[in-house]
Subunit: 153 residues, 8 copies
């Protein structure tokens, strides 16, 4: 039974690639948002027509992106939400809340400096990690029962 | 049929008081989180015992607060989420996602400067306002059909 | 146990008033959309700010109205959808589909001329009436068991 | 993960064929109503026996068609609802409401002239398009992240 | 917290009256179908117009009655289904299945002779009684903890 | 997308075999209860140990059978419920109610003589047939749009 | 908005009375199982008839009790589950799992010695307390925002 | 249609292996918790970092294990819960409650000595067995209709 994992949040580092590479050989299927920042911002107007007002420009795009993200989160067994060092990242916290309300298993991945600010998000999570490698280890353990220390080193 | 409104988000300005005062006379019941910052941070350890580790200190408190916030959002017809000028406010975005997944009517209240960063949250909202007065006007219209210009000025 | 009835659809005749008057004395609470056509069209921009583009003008208003209509339909035991003689009335058919998917008891009220065009909507209804008086008689029967002929004439 | 798309509404032009052809190569499975108008009208009596009364003739057919349409909409990730130039098309608006209540991602496809009359339906949609080609572009973007301008021209 | 009890099934003996009388003083609200057999059979045509075909005559009535029965069962905490000595009573078994699928607490009341034929219905019940008095005793116990022998005799 | 069809009810004639044979070539998967009457009655005690009391003998079996029937109905797109000429058949009506509450498409198959007694069950159905061949024709139409007259004769 | 609290588990000490007394003046309504051990064990046979086999004696009673406990848990905002010093208390752990699956806010109350054995139950809880007084303090904080130290001492 | 079976509870005997071996050839897929006791206890700290406090050590592990168990139970058609001779086994009872609230078919497997203490858990089960072989026989019967005595010996 393939584990469906949705990788939400930060799009400026290669954390998704690290997790996907690390999980090679495991029965996992990954999904996530479109991570091309420019495409993600402009998809609405590029397809459905330009908007002179920045608000509606953004709105059209965010709604088109929602077709992908809502489906991805709804279909997931596990939702990993990554908070990076910078930016507001309210979409990441929104996805975490959305996933929590649907009863998804939530894993939060963030630098320690964000700990206090994320405490309400952490309270809804089943695991809080700092390194993408830890997410891989959780996925491996959940699927196979193998732990990092005694099984792989 | 009393309208249940949950007021989520920023706790450093008097926006809740403005809305409650403005809605006087309407059939609305307001709910929201505990807005005493110190109590909200420390409720877990104050009741359930001290934790030397800051993470668990915060975690205990955030879980106790979740008893109140999850009930409040679940019981609401309308969830208003306020983003202020400062701080990460990930709990506000988390509440917005949680409310959206439950199919609640979402009203987002934020300064214009946050528009682009909030576009995914806005895409799930039925109204985006900049001033608490606008939230009151929406509640009045939803309950009575009266609009601000011709009915009150 | 008060019966919650939502009266959806046409706003250009007095069918709602006929039903409310006819149901006097029954344990029913009625709800419905804002029926002031101009207010309903302009509520979004009147409260949240003007839009030069007619599409967004309409969109803002329709989303504010959705706060009221979705709550009203969700809370209803019975949803009555009225199709009048004129106009497209797609909002009425939309409400009928929305109510059907939520498992609400649906009563459709329409002139006989619309019968064929409404057949898919009728297929989801528990009653199809032509006259508001019939809707009142259904509500009376459902609440009291009394039928029009032998009990009231 | 194949994207399930239900194509609801108008049956008198080739918009479905355009979308299916345009989406060739994408991981999409399309479904929709029976589009043979005469079969759709007569399926109930053809299988279950003639009805002298036109209302019940239509009713029997609409209920048999509902077996297909409700399943198709329930199984869909995305529901596209097309409004054509003519006819009442209340079944299209009914399907849109049904899909919205189930939380499906809704794309509405209509000529600009219908904009005002469809504003309540648009308020529940994540995209409003005028051309079947735009629907294909949305599906391609949602599945692959590729946008029309820079990726295909 | 008032206990909602729906009394479904047989309409030819006074079992409902026995239960209602026996439960006097308990915090229970009873609901049930229209028990006037003729009204129940004819409500559809009496309100919505005559049908020459007996099938549609019955169908119209059964659908109007469904407005009441579905609401009553949906709102109930406990559904009591009574099978009498005679008739097919498929509506009683249908209500039992409907209640079971909604997770209602089901009490079945039937003469011992029907035991084998009702075994699938019994398998979904939390209590199987032979006498209306036993149903009253269950309701009293559930609400107050008092048992018949030591508490009342 | 394979159509899941659950065949509930009468086990004394070959109606299931007729439908399965007639549907050959269609993308349908059929399920149903164990139709070996003796096995169905005795499965509980045969596996879990004898019961001297006939009620518990039956109860144990009915609960084991419920593992199969509840899963089959829950997984079905279409539930066909057959009422034969004889017996109480309360399990058939129970399954119909169970399926209706879950929102399944219900097809009832019964001899005309049962029409009045089944009117509440019919009110929840999308089709009422008298002959297994009609059920096959509905399945063919739902899957392919082909009608019996013009396509097969 | 009254807080509904279900008090599940141990029936041999006065922890329920302590919580009810401590919560005096708060807008809370408490519910719980029948705590008369003998009545709880014998309710099935006392009402529905004796059973020679102890298994069915117990089964009849447990099913009647389930009418009360399932309703109580389903209606609760908060479920408090108390594990005492003795006995298997599998019904307490069952109620905790039941409440968790329904998304209720779970508070577990147990002596420290049970900590390791309860770790899976704790993982589903929002608070783990050792003393009934702490449960009262949580309820007071959730309803009023008042914390024990600075507000009451 | 493969039957999904989740095997919850005791991890100190080979009951899972017996069931899996006995079910060879049947269309069943088994799932269950990680049964390596040490790995299950330590998975949280092994992956996410050590905790000096035993409570949080256990908590981190129990939450990681919950990712696996909640998914397994949610995906199951049948949940078998085994209670062994020793230990508190509250996680087993918790899983039973969790499965019951989700409407899963529950089979309980326990030695006769535990009968009285498990009566509330049994009240939610469709079968209560003492031997893993009986569970296999139930699975075989549910899938094939074959009973042990006459079909296999």
């Amino acid at each position: 039974m393939t584990l469906q994992v949705y990788l939400s949040g930060e799009i400026h580092t290669d954390w998704r690639e690290q997790i996907v590479a690390g999980a090679e050989g495991l029965d996992v299927r990954f999904d996530g948002p479109v991570t091309d920042h420019a495409a993600s911002d402009d998809c609405g107007v590029a397809i459905l027509g330009a908007e002179p007002d920045k608000y509606w420009h953004d709105h059209k795009g965010a709604m088109v992106n929602a077709i992908r993200t809502r489906r991805g989160i709804s279909a997931a067994d596990v939702v990993v939400v990554r908070f990076g060092e910078q930016y507001k990242q309210w979409n990441a916290a929104f996805d975490a809340g959305y996933a929590a309300a649907l009863g998804k298993s939530l894993i939060v991945l963030n630098p320690p400096a964000h700990q206090h600010a994320l405490k309400e998000v952490h309270a809804a999570a089943l695991a809080v990690a700092e390194d993408p490698r830890q997410v891989v280890e959780i996925l491996r353990y959940v699927l196979t029962g193998a732990l990092p220390d005694r099984d792989r080193s």
